[in-house]
Amino acid sequence: MNKDLFQNRYNVVRIIIVVFAAIFLLRLAYLQLFEKKYDKIAFDNAIKEVEVYPTRGLVYDRKGELIVYNEAIYDIMVTPRLAKTADSAKICSLLKVTMEEYSGRMAKARQYSTHKPSVFMKQVSLEDYQRFQEAQYLFPGFDGQVRTIRKYPHNCAAVILGDVGEVDDNLIKSSNGYYKPGDYVGQSGLEKYYEKELGGTQGKKFIYVDVHNREQGSFAEGKYDTAARAGDNLYSTIDIKLQEYGEQLMQNKKGSIIAIEPETGEILCMVSSPGYDPNLLCGAIRGENFKKLVFDSLKPLYNRATLATYSPGSTFKPMVGLIALNEEVQGEVYTVPCNGFYPFAGLSLKCSHHHPWATNIEYALAQSCNPYFWQTFRNAIENPKYDHIQDSYGKWSDYCRSFGFGSKLGVDLPSESRGNIPSVNYFNKVYGEKGWHSSTIISLGIGQGEILVTPIQLANFYAAVGNHGWYVRPHLVKTLQQVHEKKDVKPEMKKSYATIDTRWYVPVNDGLRQVVEAGTATESKIEGISLCGKTGTVQNSHGDHHSVFAGFAPKDHPKIAIAVIVENAGFGATFACPIASLMVERYINDTVADNRIAKQQKMIETNLLEKYAQGKNMPITNGHH
């Protein structure tokens, strides 16, 4: 047996082992018992907070027809901090971008945040998205995000419905982190006005992600998740068939049609022509098309029905008549001699029509006699009841305002014009307090001069006249269907009363009926429908007169009030009036009688675009500003 000389080294080896084991335990105690930061690091590694996007609400027309819905598309998102090791060459080839574009997009994402995801590439096709998904493990930091884009199956009503686009920087900043780059919000029309309702509320969920940032199930069984609240569905007041028909009638013309149900204030159609296909502003093609539309000289993005202001012309005559009657400065029966001109305060004003002397308001309206309404206006302004013109005109303008003229009606769209009812102060300023008389402002008597109205104000006025003195704020949405709460909400609607006594509507409405029956608009008679209204041929400084018609039907308990303006088209009776009558007939009878098909075709086929092109750079807003 060998003698073991080195047995003491047993202990040395044991000590070595124990020392190292002790070092390990100390290190582990430090890591696991005393240092707390690793908990959070591991949590941040593995658990990601993601937004749950609600589905955007749908939009239906008044008959329940679907007019706006959603379609799924995919955005590629990137978290720059995690994307350092991504195979950039492969991504470029999959998504068909160049390396320069790649760097540019990454730089943009980094600018927003290095550790929060933002959009790398918008609206990738399903096919590209699937290829991306298969190779996603090669692209840490990259992720797909399902989004929806809007679809408008009827290709019309663009300015009403509006569009949805990417949220801008200001909104991101002011939203306290609710919106992130790449989120979509309504940009115009109902999409914008009802953004809160349509957009719903984002939810949040906490998910596990693996090292490649791929989802691996929900954290804590979803205990901390909040569900998204789906957007409300809108039931619009629009009759999409009528809208389509109106757009067809107005094609190749500038102008607008606005139809309101007088009893409820519900807007039946709102045509602004030329329009555009709302689908042009959806998805990847949006940016390019938006540019085109913005620079189009015919301003298709401009909603003429609520934003354009015009002199109302003769369509304002009922207003002038009603005021005089209510002020009792003249009776229903009142004669103004008309020899085709009106000698007044050194002015020689002409009547545009040739007709026998008007002996009452009905006939004056039917013949649209200018001298009659000059005199009527003058009677009201020179009313002996008032000492000063400031008082009489002040009263006069208040009557106008009580019908909604001169201020925003409050239609549920993002923007609206006020129009203009010139104030007493305005005239005082322009002419001096003692410097203006009825003769100074006489053109107001026939709806010219400083008075400006929007087509929707005009339609609203005729709705009020049809209702004998009251109207409901015109609106586009009648019901919000709260999908989440499973209940329907109807916005509260109140009647607004004009300050004209109801009895005076009887002669005025008789007159408006006579316009169509025996006056300036006889060509637009509709069999079986008592259409009432007034033509207007509006002088303006930008070319031919605007053709205007406003009215309602039937005479008693009207179902529709309408205003039509065809810019630079000439007499009211030639374009606006037939178009209005076709719209009314189509709405009430659901069809157009055979003997009026030729008229319909003529309206559809009329093309005024060349005419517009001759008067280049014509501003949209006419009359005075």
Partner: protein
């Protein structure tokens, strides 16, 4: 009958129990590392083709069978054929470099059907046999240089071959045989100087700021000098050593700093640093996993770092981080306790051998297991360089499990026969 009783009675069942515990813990930890919802632990055709617990189970069974066979055959077989086994194995080790199968980027595998194994794992075993045989030869004195060289050659030959194969990690393990030589009489200064040089080089390269080391050296020297202030000579020596050490680490750092980048890379690889991207990703994630385990862990199969694949090589090199994450300090403590317990037990067994062969072999087993334990866990907790070697009995992989089982059970068999040896 009498033989049989003696057979079971003399086996060190405590070691076998610790072995079984480690193997089963390993299997469970691997299952957790590859776990996906609904995955059976016995599934062999899992989604993950490189790691699956079904295969590991088969290897465990195979290892137990081999262990049992070893306990039945006569231990004298290994004693007698030590050189023969070592001798046959050397050409085999060389052969796989040319004729072996390629796996994990290295041509050093033998493939039989679907089973593949790395002969380099077995080289540690055959070297242990040969070294035990040599050192137990009469009149061999490791303190004499002519005997020393032969021992170095026995260790060095397979080490160099494995190194040439490109498996630097496995090659470095052979260094630990120095511990065996030390136990058998190798002069202490080999261990001290060798250990110091390695230690100082490594810490010189891994310490973020060089002056940390100067402070530590001078502080240690100061304390030691204070304790021995009466012995002037010793104080001078201590101070001298501290200064030499400071100069040495500064020199290492300076030279490293002025190397060309590809040379730096080589040293970084040796230190287990990843050269290109990711840098310290593996270790950082491993430390996060272990650190986030806390006192008692996140619970079995609940480790997010583990399950969501944040720690690379989770079931092999970084298996310890899975245990640390899911069982916390308690689990880590248990693993370290089991290993230290096993090592202490094996050393105790080695010391009680009458045969020098058995004792030397026992120390070989202890040294190899210790080195793997040291590097693997040290790497996972960020105190040792990243050298990709498995944690014995726990890491995924058939070759290493079979090799470690063989290594251990041959010793247990020798131990069970210790009374038969008269020398």
């Amino acid at each position: 009958m009498r033989n049989n009783e003696k057979f079971t009675g003399n086996i060190d069942w405590l070691s076998v129990l610790i072995y079984l515990a480690l193997v089963l813990i390993g299997w469970a930890a691997i299952y957790s590392a590859v776990y996906t919802e609904g995955l059976s632990p016995f599934n062999t055709v899992g989604r993950d083709t490189t790691v699956n617990t079904g295969k590991q189970f088969q290897w465990i069974v195979a290892s137990l069978i081999i262990g049992a066979i070893i306990l039945i055959i006569d231990g004298k077989f290994f004693v007698t054929f030590s050189y023969a086994i070592y001798g046959i194995f050397i050409p085999l080790l060389i052969g796989v470099m040319f004729f072996g199968a390629i796996s994990h980027g290295q041509r050093n595998w033998i493939r039989i059907g679907s089973f593949q194994m790395q002969p380099s794992e077995l080289a540690k075993f055959t070297t242990s046999l040969a070294l035990a045989k040599y050192l137990s030869t009469l009149n061999i004195d490791i303190r004499k240089w002519k005997d020393k060289w032969k021992a170095f050659a026995i260790i060095g030959l397979p080490m160099i071959i494995v190194m040439v194969q490109g498996d630097a990690g496995s090659a470095i393990v052979f260094v630990v045989f120095a511990l065996v030589l030390f136990r058998e009489g190798l002069e202490s200064y080999f261990l001290i100087i060798g250990g110091s040089v390695i230690f100082l080089s490594v810490i010189a390269l891994v310490t973020p700021k060089l002056w940390y080391l100067w402070v530590v050296f001078l502080a240690v020297a100061g304390i030691l000098s204070y304790l021995n202030f009466k012995n002037r000579q010793l104080v001078y020596i201590i101070t001298g050593i501290a200064l030499v050490a400071s100069v040495y680490v500064t020199g290492v750092n300076f030279i490293f700093g002025h190397l060309k980048s590809h040379q730096k890379d080589r040293i970084n690889v040796l230190l287990g640093r990843e050269v290109e991207k990711g840098k310290d990703w593996n270790i950082r994630q491993s430390i996060i996993a272990i650190g986030s385990g806390g006192a008692i862990g996140k619970g079995y199969l609940q480790g997010t770092q583990t399950k969501l694949k944040f720690v690379p090589e989770q079931s092999t090199d970084f298996i310890f981080s899975s245990i640390g994450e899911e069982f916390g300090f308690a689990g880590s403590f248990l693993i370290i306790g089991l290993f230290v317990g096993l090592l202490m037990r094996l050393m105790y067994l080695a010391e009680r051998q009458r045969s020098k062969y058995s004792r030397v072999y026992g120390y070989c087993v202890v040294s190899i297991l210790f080195f793997h334990f040291l590097i693997n866990i040290g790497m996972a907790i960020g105190v040792a360089p990243v050298i990709g070697i498995p944690l014995p009995f726990i890491s995924y992989g058939g070759s290493s499990l079979l090799a470690f089982t063989l290594l251990l059970f041959v010793f247990l068999r020798l131990d069970s026969q210790r009374l038969e040896v008269l020398r």
